[in-house]
Amino acid sequence: MKRYPNLILLALVALLSALPLWLVERPEGGDIFGGADNQAQALIGQIAPDYAPWFQPLLEPASGEIASLLFALQAAMGAGFIGYYLGCARTREKLRREQAEAADRNTAAKDTRAD
């Protein structure tokens, strides 16, 4: 039962992420779900048409595929570490509890023998 709140929260996140895919209509002939930073870049072009970026990225991912590879790698490293840590922590907590229970049983057994 204790797991339910987290499952509900995760379902809500999935819903929040998926709903825009249905709710938002594709503009006529336009792109949809591009990066907000590209929109900001376009807005800068409107506000200050004369502005030219004075520095270029040193390395640019060779294609959209390569970029998604790196983003996936970033997420996988993070998620892998979190999973490892939670696994360790869970096992440690379980062992600690079993030890405490075993100790309780021992003292209980001694108590009955003493009686």
Binding site: K2, P5, N6, L9, L10, L12, V13, L16, S17, L19, P20, L21, L23, V24, P27, I32, F33, G34, G35, A36, D37, Q39, A40, Q41, L43, I44, I47, A48, Y51, P53, W54, F55, Q56, P57, L58, L59, E60, P61, A67, L70, F71, A72, Q74, A75, M77, G78, A79, F81, I82, Y85, L86, C88, A89, R90, R92, E93, K94, R97
Partner: protein, 225 residues
């Protein structure tokens, strides 16, 4: 989404770097001090960093028809204090600037300031305010993480509006335009970030109740029992 490489005038780029640097230095000091005093918290610090790595890699669609990503800085700020996230956020931003052409070196200072300074400080303040107002732990975490996420992008909008005031309406008009792109897009994502932070915090409270109690974050965490 971060400010793109080369898209801040040079004096703004330098100014934000100067503004962000002391926070990064303070954060490094505070993290070192804490790890020296409590070496067992090293792994938990790694979790806070990993959480930021994951969340800032997730580009999610929003109701505005564009995509942006959460920041993940709220968790670490609540666990380790606001300054600790400045160096961690800086590492994430540097990774994305160098390898992904996402953000940039010239805009690193400005992006550190919005994501790794304003966000975490907001999260820390909101968390403690909510706890003082007797909000539950989950509600406090949710508010801290989601508002920190939102305020990060409000800050980005301020930074861009300051650098590029509207020719007709000046700073305010420009800010409203940038906020329309960044902050409005971010609202559902901020809610998602708040919910995800509660999820990971629930897991930590179950398996690391002792540590969270020791850190004074969750004095009533009961763990598995």
């Amino acid at each position: 989404m971060h400010i793109m490489e080369g898209f801040l005038p040079i004096e703004h780029a330098v100014g934000w770097s100067v503004a962000a640097a002391p926070f990064v230095a303070w954060g490094i000091r505070s993290v070192n001090h804490r790890i020296r005093e409590n070496p067992e918290q090293r792994m938990l610090l790694g979790v806070a960093a990993a959480f930021t790595f994951v969340l800032s890699a997730l580009k999610l669609p929003s109701v505005t028809g564009s995509c942006s990503h959460p920041t993940g800085t709220g968790l670490g700020a609540v666990l380790f204090g606001p300054a600790a996230m400045a160096p961690i956020g800086a590492v994430v931003l540097l990774f994305q600037a160098l390898l992904l052409a996402h953000g940039g070196l010239t805009t690193l200072g400005a992006n550190i300031f919005s994501m790794a300074v304003v966000g975490p400080f907001a999260a820390y303040g909101i968390f403690h305010l909510a706890r003082r107002l007797r909000a539950s732990l989950a509600v406090s975490i949710f508010l801290a993480a989601s508002l920190a996420d939102l305020l990060t992008y409000v800050t980005t909008s301020v930074q861009l509006a300051w650098a590029f005031p509207d020719p007709a309406g000046g700073f305010t008009t420009s800010f409203l335009k940038f906020a329309g792109i960044f902050a409005v897009t971010q609202i559902p994502l901020a809610v998602s970030e708040g919910l995800l932070t509660v999820v990971i915090f629930n897991a930590l409270a179950r398996f690391n109740a002792q540590e969270l109690r020791d850190m004074g974050v969750a004095p009533d965490a009961k763990g598995l029992a």
